[in-house]
Symmetry: C2
Subunit: 375 residues, 2 copies
C-alpha cells in the first residue's frame, strides 16, 4: 500500500492512537477500574483490538450493526448503550442466541414492560442496565426518582436480570477547567453509585456500575464503587476535546487529507474536502476558541498558524485566515496537499467507509482499516 | 419487501419524487433548455433514471466515484462539477478510455497547465468547462476577468477543448422572495452568457453554457443563451428549499424514520435517530423560520405541529416544542414511530447507504435504492 494519490480521505496516525490508548489505560489502571471502550468513534476492529493489546474484551456499541460486526470478530461481551426500542428486540435476541452476552439499556417502565413481554414470549434472557441521569444532559432517571425502583421491580418480576446502572456525563463536554472536569467526573460517579446502592437496598444485585465519557474518564481521580468506564473518542481525540483541555492538538490522531483546487470568495482557498469529508459539526462554536470546521495542517502534520476551514459545501472546503486575525493568506498553490483536523472525530470519521493508516508521521500509508456503518 | 421493523432508516416517497421531477421537467421544457441533473443528492440510479423517463441522459456528478457508478449503469455524458485536482487526472483518463464523455471543470491557469501537461503526456482529450463566478459564492473567475481568456488560451494552445462555461449560483440559497430568486437566476444567466460570449469573441467555440442550482432552475423565466441547467436537490427537496419558497413542506420526498425511546431533558422526547441518521446540518439557522434539525411528522407523514428536532447526539435525537411556542409536548409513548423531515436533503441522504422506498403515502416499503458513496 502507498499513500493515496487522490483526496479526500481519512488519515490515521497509528503512533498517536497507541499513545492515546496507553494514556487512558495507565490512568484507569491506577484507579483500579476496567475499561469498556465505546467503539462508536472508530467503528473499526484494529484500533479496538489495540485497546486490548491485540485481543478482544468488553465493548460498548451505539448500534446493533456495530454489535454484529464486532461479534463476527469474536467479541462476546457487548453493551448496547442506546435506550432500547421495542422493535429492536428480535435482533438483540439473535445476538444472544449466537452466544453474545449483550446488555441492553432502558430508562422507562414502558421499555421494561416491553422487554419483559419479549423475554417471556421468547425465553431469551435480556440483562438490562438502567440509565441514570447524572447531569440533566440527555436521558435517564435521577438516582432518587421512584421510577428507578419501579423499573427494576417490573424487570425482576418479569424474570429479567437487573444488571446495574449506567450513565453518560454528556455535560462534561462543556467543562473548561481541570476543576470543572474533575467535578463532573465525581458527580457522575456519585450519582451512579447512589442509584446502584438504592437498587441493592431494594433487593437487586445490580453488579454493574458503568460510567463514562472521554472527558470524565480522563479527569476522574477516584472511581470508588464504579465497575467500568466507557470512553471512545479518546482513541482519535479532536478539537472539541482539545478545546476543553482533555488532549492537545498534537494528540489528534485523525485528519482529512485534502488538495487545494483554487481560490474562493475574498481571501480564501478552496479544497476538495467539503462537509462530505469533514462533516459540518460545529462543536467548537460555543467554546472559548472557535475552530470553525477545523484547523489546517501541512501534509506533514504541522499546524499552519491561523489557517482554518471556515466554510464548506458538499465537495468544497473553504480555508481562510482565522476571523479577527490580520495576516496574509498563506501561499498554497493549486495541487498542494493539506490536512484538516476534525472538530468532532465521531462525526468526521462517520463520513468515511475506511481509514488510510500510517505507522507514524513521515511514514507512508501502510494499512487500511474498514469501518462498520448503518444500523 | 416490507417496511422495516427497525429504525432509523431513510424513507423515500416515490410519488413525491415523480411529482418533483415532472415539475422541473415541465418548467425547463417551457424554456427550451436541457436538464443535466446533479446526482450528488440522491447518488442513486433509480431516481436519476426517473428524470430521463426510464433511460439515461447527461448528468452532473460531484465525485469520480459517482461518475464510475453511473458509467457502470450506462451513463456516457458526465460533467464532473468540482474543480479538478491534478492528482485525479489519471482516474479521469480511465473513464475517458471507457468511452465516457467526461467533462472536467477548472478556474485557474495552474489547473489548465496541469491538464495540458497530462493531456500531452497521455494523449487523452480532456474537454473542460471554465467555472464562472456569477455571485461571489464560491469559486470561478468573473466574466470580465482577464484570467478567463488566459485560461482558455493555455487550454487551446495545449490542444485541450474549451467546451464552455459553467456557474453555480450558490447565493440563491439565501434569496427569500420570488423576486430575489428570479433576479438570482437572471444574474446567473447573464454572467455565464457574458463569459461565453467573451470566449467566443476570443476565438473559442465554447458550445456549452451551463447554469444551475435548485432555486435558480425553478425561478428562471428566461434562459436565452443557456444550453443546460443543473439541479439535484429538487428530486427530494428539503426544509432549506421550503424556507426560501422553492417548494412546500409537502413536496419533501425524503424523511428519516425514527422511534421514540424515552424522555430527554426538560420537556423533550428522545428518539433513536441522532445526527448519524439526520446529519447535523443547520441550514435553516439563518432563515426567517429556524427548523432546527428538522420538522417531525407522524409515521403517516402528517406534520406534528410545532414539534421539532432540537438536538442530537450520535444515535439520539431530541424532540421538543418549537422554542418560543407555548404548548404541551405531544404524548408520544415509547415505541411510537415518527419521521424527521430533512434540513438539507444532500446531507441527510449522505448518512445512509440506501433508501427504503414506498410507492406513495400509505403504501408499504416496496423498493430499496442503493447509494454510491466515498470518492
Amino acid at each position: 500500500m502507498t499513500t493515496p494519490a487522490e483526496t479526500p480521505f481519512a488519515l490515521v496516525d497509528r503512533a498517536k492512537v497507541e499513545r492515546n490508548i496507553a494514556r487512558l489505560r495507565d490512568h484507569l489502571g491506577g484507579l483500579g477500574v476496567a475499561l469498556r471502550p465505546h467503539v462508536k468513534t472508530t467503528k473499526a476492529l484494529e484500533p479496538t483490538s489495540m485497546v486490548f493489546g491485540g485481543g478482544t474484551g468488553p465493548i460498548t456499541v451505539s448500534t446493533l450493526a456495530e454489535a454484529e460486526f464486532f461479534a463476527d470478530a469474536g467479541y462476546t461481551d457487548i453493551l448496547y448503550a442506546v435506550g432500547i426500542a421495542p422493535g429492536k428486540l428480535d435482533r438483540v435476541a439473535r445476538l444472544k442466541q449466537r452466544g453474545v452476552d449483550l446488555t441492553i439499556l432502558l430508562d422507562t417502565v414502558a421499555q421494561a414492560q416491553a422487554v419483559v413481554a419479549f423475554a417471556g414470549e421468547h425465553g431469551t434472557p435480556l440483562p438490562a442496565l438502567i440509565e441514570i441521569d447524572s447531569d440533566g444532559h440527555r436521558g435517564g432517571v435521577l438516582p432518587g426518582d421512584p421510577q428507578l425502583l419501579e423499573i427494576a421491580r417490573v424487570l425482576a418480576d418479569g424474570g429479567v436480570e437487573v444488571r446495574g446502572v449506567m450513565t453518560h456525563a454528556g455535560e462534561s463536554y462543556f467543562a473548561y477547567t481541570p476543576q470543572a472536569l474533575q467535578a463532573a467526573a465525581e458527580e457522575e460517579r456519585r450519582a451512579t453509585v447512589e442509584a446502584a446502592t438504592r437498587l441493592r437496598e431494594g433487593g437487586h444485585s445490580a453488579p454493574v456500575v458503568s460510567v463514562g465519557s472521554t472527558p470524565t474518564a480522563h479527569a476522574a481521580r477516584d472511581l470508588s464503587g464504579v465497575t467500568e468506564v466507557r470512553a471512545g473518542n479518546y482513541v482519535f481525540f479532536d478539537l472539541v476535546m482539545a478545546g476543553i483541555g482533555v488532549c492537545t492538538v498534537d494528540d489528534i490522531a485523525l485528519s482529512v487529507a485534502a488538495t487545494v483546487i483554487g481560490h474562493g470568495p475574498g481571501a480564501s482557498l478552496l479544497t476538495d474536502a467539503g462537509w462530505m469529508a469533514t462533516s459540518s459539526d460545529r462543536g467548537t462554536s460555543a467554546q472559548p476558541v472557535d475552530q470553525h470546521l477545523g484547523i489546517v495542517t501541512t501534509s506533514e502534520g504541522e499546524v499552519i498558524e491561523d489557517l482554518v476551514m471556515v466554510g464548506a459545501s458538499q465537495e468544497h472546503g473553504v480555508l481562510a485566515v482565522r476571523p479577527g486575525v490580520e495576516r496574509e493568506l498563506p501561499d498554497l498553490p493549486v495541487g498542494t496537499r493539506v490536512r484538516i483536523l476534525p472538530i468532532h472525530a465521531c462525526a468526521t470519521a462517520a463520513q468515511h467507509d475506511h481509514y488510510e493508516v500510517m505507522a507514524g508521521e513521515g511514514e507512508p500509508v501502510s494499512q487500511r482499516w474498514e469501518r462498520v456503518h448503518g444500523w
